[in-house]
C-alpha cells in the first residue's frame, strides 16, 4: 500500500520548490521515485495525477518519455550504459558484455538480490572519456571491463557508489 499522505506531502514540497508551473510534475515524480527507491509505483502516480489535477494518462506519458523514470521496481543501483556510437566504438560493447555477464541480467531487468538494474541511455555528453556508464547519479568514464568488474564487486560488498 502506498501511503497517500506521504505522496501528498511530496507533491506539496515539489510545488513549493518548483519555479515554474510546468516543472511541478517532473519534480514531483523525481521526489517520489527517490522516496520509493528508484521507481514510481502506479498507485503513487495515480495520487499525483489527482493531486495535481492532470489526467492519469499524461502522468504516464511523462513517466515513459524520460528514461530516468520507471514504474517497475528497480534495484538499489541503476546502471545505465551509454549505447551511442562514440561509446560503442571505444569499447562500449565489451562493457555491455561484462555487465550482463557479471550481473546475469539483460537490459531492463533487475538482479534477483534487488541490488542492480541494467538500463541503456543515450549519449551523456561525456564522449571525451568514453566509454561511459552511470550508476544512479554518478558518472564513470574511461572504463575497461576490469574497472567495471571492480565497481560491481565493491558495490556488492556494500561499498559506496564512489
Amino acid at each position: 500500500m502506498v501511503d497517500r499522505e506521504k505522496v501528498s506531502a511530496l507533491v506539496e514540497k515539489a510545488k513549493l520548490e518548483s519555479l515554474e508551473e510546468k516543472d511541478i510534475l517532473i519534480n514531483t515524480l523525481h521526489k517520489i521515485q527517490d522516496y520509493f527507491g528508484n521507481y514510481v509505483p502506479v498507485e503513487a502516480a495515480e495520487i499525483v495525477a489527482e493531486e495535481l489535477g492532470v489526467p492519469k494518462s499524461k502522468v504516464y506519458e511523462v513517466l515513459t518519455f524520460y528514461t530516468m523514470f520507471s514504474i517497475k521496481p528497480r534495484g538499489k543501483y541503476v546502471i545505465r550504459v551509454c549505447v551511442n556510437l562514440p561509446c560503442h566504438v571505444t569499447g562500449g560493447r565489451e562493457i555491455v558484455q561484462i555487465l550482463q555477464e557479471s550481473l546475469g541480467v539483460n537490459f531492463g531487468e533487475t538482479t534477483k538480490d534487488g541490488l542492480f538494474t541494467l538500463e541503456t541511455t543515450s549519449c551523456l555528453g561525456l564522449c571525451g572519456v568514453s566509454p561511459v556508464i552511470m550508476i544512479n547519479d554518478q558518472y564513470y568514464g574511461d572504463l575497461t571491463p576490469r574497472k567495471v568488474k571492480e565497481l560491481i564487486e565493491n558495490l556488492r560488498k556494500g561499498g559506496d557508489e564512489r
Binding site: V42, A45, E46, A49, P55, K56, S57, K58, V59, Y60, E61, T64, F65, I71
Partner: protein, 897 residues
C-alpha cells in the same frame, strides 16, 4: 488574398491552411493525422507539399497561407517524400486487409494502393503487441497504429476525458491509456469517438466486427433517438438485412455535436432496433395471452374498442399518451387524433414528468418555455452555473462541451447535492440539502441585490416586478439560507459575486430543478437570477433547461399537452379553437384536459376507461408505480403502439407494432429548439409500421379521413397552423436544422431568444416572488434517508432501448449509490443487497459505495425493472402549477437485505 496551387490561382482567406484551400477547390492532398473537427498538429507529414521559397517540404494541414504563396502538390519531391513515409509505416504494418474491419474505409490502404507501395513479407517487422478487447465496445490493435494521435486528440479536445497519451519515445510511441491498462480499467466512458476517428483499423467498433464490409453498408445521416442534445449521426446499415452495423458522429452540423461527437448511447446504443424481441406483427389479448393477428383485424379491433367506450362513457373517458420519443409529425397527428377524432381533451406525454415546470415557469417569466440560448454558445460564457443537471451523464456531448468551456477559462459553479463529475471542474461547489433550491437561489439574489451587482438598466427597461421581489428576498440572508440549505454562507456570497460580476453568465439546469413539488418555483427563482443580472438575450448567457428526451421539446411544440395546441396556442382561446376547427373541418374540445398523472388517477377512480399509449412506459417511469399498474389493469380498453412488449403494455388489449426511428422519416426538435431531420435507413422490420401511418389507419376507421403521403406533407400542415414553425419545411432543415421561432420561409430561425424583448404581449420579463417551502416529505425517524433519482450515462429511462443494445453487455444491473459512512453503519458491502422502503412500497437494490452522495442520501436510477424505484416515489402532491411529480425528494428507510 490569392494563392497559387500548381500554378493555378485561388481565392483564399487569412488563417486558412494550404490544405483548407486545396480541399475547398477539389485539389487532393492526402492526410492521415488531420481531422476537420480537431486542431491540426502536423504529425504524420503525409500532406507534405512544396512551397516556393521554402527549403523544406511543408505540411499542408498546418501551414497557413499568405498572399501570393505558390504551392506545388504533386512534384517528384513531394511524391518521393510521401512514398518514403508510407514505406516506413507499412514496414511495421500487418498485411491483414482481408479480415480487417477498416477494409474499405482505411486511409492507409487507399494510399498504399495509390502510391503502389509493396513490402515483401519477410521485410515486415511487426510490433507483436497484444489486442485490447476487454470491453464490449472497442477493439484496439496497436500493431496497426500509424501514430497519427487522432485518438489522443479527440479524447482530449472533444470528449475531454484524456484517456490516452502517446507513450514511450520516437518511433515506438503509441497511444495508451494510463499505465498501459485496458480501456475497461481506465476511466473511459466509451463514447467511441476514438474508433470513429482512427483512420485505420487500430481502433474499431467491436459490435460491427463480422457484420458487413464497408462497401456493403449504406450511410444514413439522422438524429440520435436518445437525449435532447440531438446529435447528428451517420448510421451505417446493411439495408438487406435491415441491420445497424456501426454509427459515426456526423460532420454535418458541428454546432450540435462538434462534427464528430457522440456518447456511448448514440454510438453503441442503436442496435436495439435489431433486438429479436421486436414486435413484428400486431397482437391482441385473448384469454390473457397475446396472439398474432393481421393488421386489418388489429386495427378494426382497436377502433371498435375505442368506439364502444366512447359510446358508453363519452369521449372524455378516453386518455391519450403521446410520446417524446416519436417524431413531431407523429405527435402532431396523435394530438389531432385525440382532439379531432376521439374528441377528448385528455392528451399529454411524459414531458409532464420532466420539464412541465420549465414550460410553466419560463412561460410565466419570459413568455416562452424553452431554452433561451443554444448549445454552441456555452463556449462564450465566462461563468456557468450548473444545477440539478448531471450533464456529463445525462447530456454527455453537452457535458463535454461544458468541460471544454472550463478548459478555455470559464468559471464553473455547480449547485448539486451529489458530487457529480462536473464538480471536479468547478470553482465552487454548493452542496445544498435536496429540495432547498428556492432558498439557495433567493439567497444568491439577496447577496446580488445587497452588493449592488444587479443590472439596473436591464431591470428597468426590460422587466417588471423587481421591487416586490427585492422586498421578498430581504429575509434570505446568507445566514438564514445556510441554515436551510447547509451551504456555508461564505460560499453563497462567493457564488453570488462570481455569477453576477460576469459579463456573460449562463445557467444550465435539468430535472434536479424541475422534478419537485415546487418545481415551477425553482424555475422562477432561476429566471429571477438571470433577469436581475441581465443575463438574457445575449451570447454565452441565458437560462438553459436541458430537455431529457430526443423529442420532448417537439412533442410539447406539437401540442401533445392537455392545455395547448401546436406552438403553445391555448385551448382556452376561442380564436385558436376556431382556427383549428376550420383547418381540421370538425369540432374539437375547447377545454383543458387531464395530465399524465391525473389520467392514471382518473383510471383508478373509473373516470378514464380507455387509453391510447404511443411509445411510453408509465409503469416504470411514473411515480408511485404500483398505482399505475392497478390503474392500467382497470381499463376497459387499452391500445398500445410500441416496438416492444413492456411493463406497461402487458395490460393492453391490442398492441400495434411500431417502426423504429431508423425506419421512418420525420423530425425531432432538440433541447435548443432546433428542428432536425430523421431519415429512414431501411424499411420497417417485420410488419411494423411508422406510428404516423398507424394513427392514420385508426383515424380512418373511426370515421375521420387522414391522408398524408409522407411526414413532410404533415409538416406542411403543422407549419400552416403553427406560427413558430411557420418557416419549417423538411427541405429547409436538410443540413443544419432550424431553431424556432422560425416564422416564414425566409426566416433563418432564432439561435437566442429574447434579444430585444421578451415573448409575452407587453414584451417585458416578469419577476416572480417565490418563497421557500419544505418538500412534501422529509426524512424522519421512521424513514431517515433522502432518496433521489436520476439518469446514469449507460442507460436511458426505462431501459426499453439501451437494455436491448450492446450497452447491456457492459452494464445491465441496477445500483443504488450510498455514502461509505452509511454503508458502514448498515453493515453493507459494495455490491451488497439492500431493501429500500418508503410509505408507498418496498424495493430491492444493489449498493454502490461512493462519496458521490452525501451521508443519509441515496441515489438510484429509474432504468431497471429489477429495482423499480418509482414504486417508492410520491404521486402526490404534484406541483400545483405544472402538475409535475416530486421525484427528487422521497423519505425512505434502508435495510440490509
Amino acid at each position: 488574398m490569392i494563392i497559387f496551387i500548381n500554378e493555378k490561382s485561388f481565392e483564399a482567406k487569412q488563417g486558412q491552411t494550404i490544405y483548407d484551400v486545396a480541399m475547398e477547390n477539389g485539389i487532393e492532398i492526402p492526410v492521415l493525422c488531420h481531422h476537420p473537427a480537431l486542431e491540426p498538429v502536423g504529425a504524420c507529414r503525409i500532406c507534405a507539399v512544396e512551397v516556393e521559397g521554402m527549403r523544406n517540404l511543408q505540411t499542408a494541414c498546418t501551414t497557413k497561407v499568405f498572399d501570393g504563396m505558390r504551392v506545388y502538390t504533386s512534384t517528384q519531391r513531394v511524391f518521393s517524400a510521401r512514398k518514403t513515409n508510407l514505406y516506413l509505416i507499412l514496414k511495421v504494418h500487418p498485411n491483414d486487409c482481408m479480415t480487417c474491419d477498416a477494409n474499405g474505409n482505411c486511409k492507409l490502404q487507399e494510399l498504399a494502393y495509390q502510391y503502389n507501395i509493396k513490402i515483401p513479407t519477410q521485410e515486415v517487422e511487426l510490433r507483436g503487441l497484444p489486442l485490447d478487447d476487454a470491453d464490449p465496445f472497442i477493439v484496439r490493435d496497436l500493431n496497426k497504429c500509424i501514430q497519427c494521435q487522432l485518438c489522443v486528440r479527440v479524447c482530449d479536445e472533444i470528449e475531454n476525458m484524456s484517456i490516452y497519451s502517446m507513450v514511450e519515445r520516437g518511433y515506438e510511441t503509441l497511444p495508451q491509456p494510463a499505465f498501459g491498462m485496458p480501456l475497461k480499467e481506465s476511466e473511459c466512458v466509451f463514447c467511441g469517438q476514438c474508433a470513429t476517428v482512427c483512420p485505420v483499423g487500430a481502433i474499431v467498433e467491436k459490435p460491427a466486427i463480422g457484420k458487413a464490409r464497408w462497401w456493403e453498408t449504406d450511410k444514413t445521416t439522422t438524429t440520435c433517438p436518445y437525449c435532447g442534445v440531438g446529435c447528428q449521426i451517420d448510421v451505417f446499415v446493411d439495408k438487406e438485412k435491415k441491420e445497424v452495423v456501426r454509427v459515426y458522429g456526423s460532420a454535418i452540423n458541428p454546432d450540435v455535436n462538434d462534427g464528430i461527437a457522440t456518447c456511448v448511447k448514440g454510438k453503441f446504443g442503436l442496435d436495439f432496433v435489431n433486438d429479436p424481441a421486436r414486435l413484428k406483427e400486431p397482437v391482441v389479448k385473448r384469454n390473457g395471452e397475446f396472439v398474432k393477428v393481421s393488421w386489418q383485424e388489429a386495427l378494426d379491433y382497436a377502433a371498435n374498442g375505442l368506439k364502444s367506450v366512447i359510446e358508453k362513457y363519452g369521449s372524455e373517458s378516453v386518455g391519450v399518451l403521446s410520446s417524446a420519443k416519436c417524431t413531431n409529425e407523429e405527435n402532431y397527428l396523435m394530438q389531432k387524433f385525440a382532439r379531432a377524432v376521439l374528441k377528448t381533451p385528455n392528451v399529454d406525454h411524459c414531458a409532464r414528468l420532466c420539464h412541465a415546470s420549465t414550460v410553466a415557469g419560463l412561460a410565466r417569466a419570459f413568455g416562452s418555455g424553452a431554452m433561451t440560448n443554444n448549445l454552441k454558445d456555452i463556449l462564450q460564457a465566462q461563468v456557468i452555473l450548473v444545477t440539478g443537471s448531471n450533464t456529463t451523464e445525462a447530456h454527455p456531448v453537452y457535458g463535454s462541451r461544458i468541460k471544454k468551456a472550463v478548459r478555455k477559462g470559464a468559471k464553473l459553479i455547480v449547485a448539486d447535492p451529489r458530487k457529480i463529475e462536473l464538480v471536479n471542474y468547478a470553482t465552487l461547489w454548493l452542496r445544498q440539502r435536496p429540495g432547498t433550491d428556492v432558498a439557495l437561489f433567493n439567497g444568491l439574489l439577496h447577496v446580488i441585490i445587497k452588493e449592488d451587482l444587479v443590472n439596473k438598466e436591464f431591470i428597468s427597461n426590460r422587466t417588471t416586478g423587481f421591487e416586490e421581489l427585492k422586498r421578498a428576498v430581504e429575509k434570505y440572508t446568507p445566514e438564514y439560507v445556510e441554515k436551510i440549505t447547509n451551504v456555508p454562507k461564505e460560499k453563497i456570497i462567493e457564488a453570488a459575486r462570481l455569477y453576477a460580476k460576469a459579463q456573460r453568465a449562463a445557467i444550465v439546469y435539468s430535472m434536479g430543478i424541475t422534478q419537485h413539488e415546487h418545481g415551477t418555483d425553482n424555475v422562477l427563482a432561476i429566471a429571477n437570477l438571470a433577469m436581475a443580472t441581465g443575463n438574457l438575450g445575449k451570447e454565452g448567457a441565458g437560462v438553459n433547461p436541458l430537455r431529457g428526451q430526443n423529442n420532448v421539446q417537439g412533442a410539447c411544440d406539437m401540442g401533445a399537452l392537455p392545455d395547448v395546441l401546436t406552438g403553445y396556442q391555448k385551448v382556452t382561446s376561442p380564436e385558436v379553437i376556431e382556427k383549428f376547427e376550420k383547418a381540421w373541418q370538425t369540432k374539437i374540445p375547447a377545454k383543458v384536459g387531464l395530465t399524465v398523472v391525473e389520467m392514471i388517477h382518473a383510471a383508478l377512480e373509473g373516470r378514464i376507461k380507455a387509453l391510447v399509449v404511443m411509445g411510453e412506459n408509465p409503469r416504470l417511469s411514473d411515480p408511485d408505480a404500483s398505482l399505475v399498474d392497478e390503474a392500467l389493469s382497470k381499463l376497459d380498453f387499452f391500445v398500445s403502439m410500441d416496438m416492444f412488449l413492456n411493463e406497461t403494455n402487458k395490460h393492453a388489449h391490442v398492441v400495434l407494432p411500431a417502426a423504429s426511428f431508423l425506419e421512418k422519416d420525420g423530425t425531432f426538435t432538440n433541447t435548443e429548439r432546433r428542428v432536425q431531420l430523421v431519415r429512414k435507413a431501411f424499411e420497417p422490420v417485420g410488419e411494423s409500421k411508422p406510428d404516423w401511418q398507424i394513427i392514420m389507419e385508426l383515424s380512418k376507421r373511426l370515421g375521420y379521413e387522414m391522408n398524408y403521403d409522407s411526414p413532410s406533407q404533415i409538416m406542411e400542415e403543422i407549419r400552416s397552423l403553427t406560427p413558430i414553425y411557420g418557416g419549417i419545411t423538411h427541405e429547409r432543415i436538410k443540413i443544419k436544422g432550424l431553431q424556432w421561432p422560425c416564422r416564414t420561409l425566409e426566416d433563418e430561425g432564432t439561435p437566442i431568444l429574447h434579444t430585444s424583448k421578451f415573448t409575452g404581449p407587453d414584451g417585458l420579463g416578469k419577476f416572480h416572488v417565490v418563497e421557500y417551502r419544505e418538500p412534501p416529505e422529509l426524512p424522519d425517524e421512521e424513514y431517515p434517508f433522502y432518496l433521489t433519482t436520476g439518469r446514469i450515462l449507460f442507460h436511458f429511462h426505462t431501459g426499453t432501448m439501451t437494455r436491448r443494445s450492446t450497452i447491456s453487455k457492459y452494464l445491465n444491473t441496477p445500483y443504488v449509490e450510498m455514502n461509505p459512512v452509511d454503508a458502514q453503519e448498515l453493515g453493507v458491502k459494495d455490491k451488497g443487497e439492500i431493501y429500500i422502503t418508503s410509505r408507498r412500497g418496498k424495493v430491492k437494490g444493489i449498493v454502490k459505495i461512493t462519496e458521490k452522495v452525501p451521508p443519509r442520501t441515496i441515489f438510484s436510477s429509474f432504468h431497471f425493472y429489477e429495482t423499480p424505484i418509482n414504486e417508492l416515489t410520491l404521486a402526490e402532491p404534484l406541483d400545483p402549477i405544472a402538475k409535475i411529480p416530486n421525484f427528487k425528494v422521497t423519505a425512505v428507510r434502508v435495510e440490509k437485505a
